[in-house]
Amino acid sequence: MDPSSRRRFLQTGAAAGASILAGRQKAFGLDTPGKLGIPLGPYGERSPYEKAVRWRRESRTPETGSSFAPLQDSVGTLTPSALHYERHHAGIPTIDPAKHRLVIHGLVDRPLTLTMADIRRLPSVTRTLVLECGGNSGGEWQPRTGADVQRSYGLVSCSEWTGVPLSLVLAEVGVRRGASWVIAEGADACRMERSIPLAKAMDDILLAYGQNGEALRPAQGYPLRLIIPGWEGNTNVKWLHSLKLTDQAYMARDETAKYSDLMPDGKARIFTYQMEAKSVITFPSGGQTLPARGLYELTGLAWSGRGRITRVEITIDGGRSWTAARLHEPRQPIAFTRFRLPFRFDGRDAVIASRAVDESGYVQPTREELIAVRGMNSIYHFNGIKFWKVQADGTVTNVDA
């Protein structure tokens, strides 16, 4: 190799090396090209670019209230534990699990005190279940409702829960003849209390300590809570420390003054535990904008406290015609079922909505059908069909807002 060709070779090689380096520097969106990333960590955090958060109203008593899950940002069918909706009545207690106790007493043969270690020794089950506040979408009864899906429908989430069947623990204590109710009490400052029929306790209630593969979050009842499949969130008592077997319901404040449904005749329905079939479109939904005409995937979530979702239908013409949506599998009972349907936005107004049907044959009703029977003052258990309006300019609004 003569000196000139050697020089050419080195120049070519240097140029090739430079172009490789330049290629690496061009990695899209990387903010530290050519540098090492951050080290591994003991507990993961999401990307700093992800901004989905719960929403809550301003309050003079921030220890009580609700925070709403960002359903518009959700994908798939599970809610991250960090974004699970919250409803607290006296703040979130901090509990040392080594000192926590569950006392089971009242009409039982062997009143029992269990530690968390005792409970974790027992056979466990794991179920993916939706949890929905009885007051979710309560604002929808009234003419002016939340502007977006988070504020209108965000008091619902879906998690994988792990725990011990309550029936198993009740067998350990020996339920006495005459017992017909279980009074559950939490360890929060207000010691939240609900009466639960013994039949449901013997059926499918869980003493849950796990959520989405790890311990419950403090806001979800750490270290122990009730999970009651298909029943309103308030009955799923968090920070559970007492179960009392009784021969009567205790008419607690949160089952009489609250969480009862006032009807037009002035009577209130009591023990309205059951959550019914419901669905909502999360994209396109209120507050979002379609950037251009063209094809999109309309999507949303459906669920029912009575079991599996069997069908979701979509309208894009304000309810005149309905088309069956595709449902993501597997569809688990009493869990979020995601639905989708291609949606072509052609620059004209479209009033869109979803309608869910569950395996009991129940069809999600319209707001008008609900109001015709229940009036507008019942606060709880609104599960009406939710309409969004996609406007000609691509912005999406709440039809009722």
Partner: protein, 181 residues
């Protein structure tokens, strides 16, 4: 089908556990002591089960209310940060129902239970049993349910007939939501 499967699974577990209900299958935990039960699970039944021996008068309750309750519920229970405690009778079937202790709560024992467990909001558990009796008596008094010289105790409180005692009905759902065609 899978709901049934899931329920069947739980029932199966329940059934196998029930079959040995005469003696504990796992034997975990320890017998609950009276201290365990006293410290937890202080729930009060509508027939008065669980109410402690003590008493409090409406007059005493007026003082307790002024000291502990008025800052949130207003000097006369008219409501502020905390909800309104008085009035609302006759409003339940109207477009603007006002649900208060007087107009809506079906049992006086519930008021005792809730004040005892959850009030004052920022210091729950502060009130002694005689103070709870007294302040519940006062709240019932300003609602016109208990007389000015009323005294509340474990016998008198469960006998109070609340105006809306018969205002609750069973859940008839599904009441809306037509079957599929």
């Amino acid at each position: 089908m899978s709901t049934r499967d899931a329920i069947a699974l739980v029932l199966l577990i329940g059934a196998s556990a029930t079959a040995v209900a005469q003696s504990p299958a796992f034997g975990v935990g320890r017998p609950a002591t009276s201290e365990d039960i006293r410290d937890l699970g202080s729930a009060i039944a509508p027939d008065g089960t669980g109410l402690p021996k003590a008493s409090g008068s409406v007059a005493e309750g007026r003082a307790v209310f002024a000291l502990r309750c008025a800052k949130c519920h207003g000097p006369k229970g008219e409501g502020d940060v905390g909800p309104t405690l008085v009035g609302g009778r006759g409003t339940l079937p109207t477009p603007r129902p006002l649900k208060t202790v007087g107009s809506f709560w079906p049992y006086a024992t519930t008021v005792w239970d809730y004040v005892n467990r959850a009030m004052p909001f920022d210091e729950p558990g502060l009130l002694k049993p005689h103070e709870v009796y007294a302040v519940v008596g006062y709240i019932l008094n300003i609602n016109g349910i208990v007389a000015d010289d009323g005294v509340m105790d474990a016998t008198s409180l469960p006998k109070v007939k609340m105006p809306n005692r018969d205002g609750f009905v069973a859940d008839p759902r599904p009441d809306v939501g037509k079957p599929v065609k």
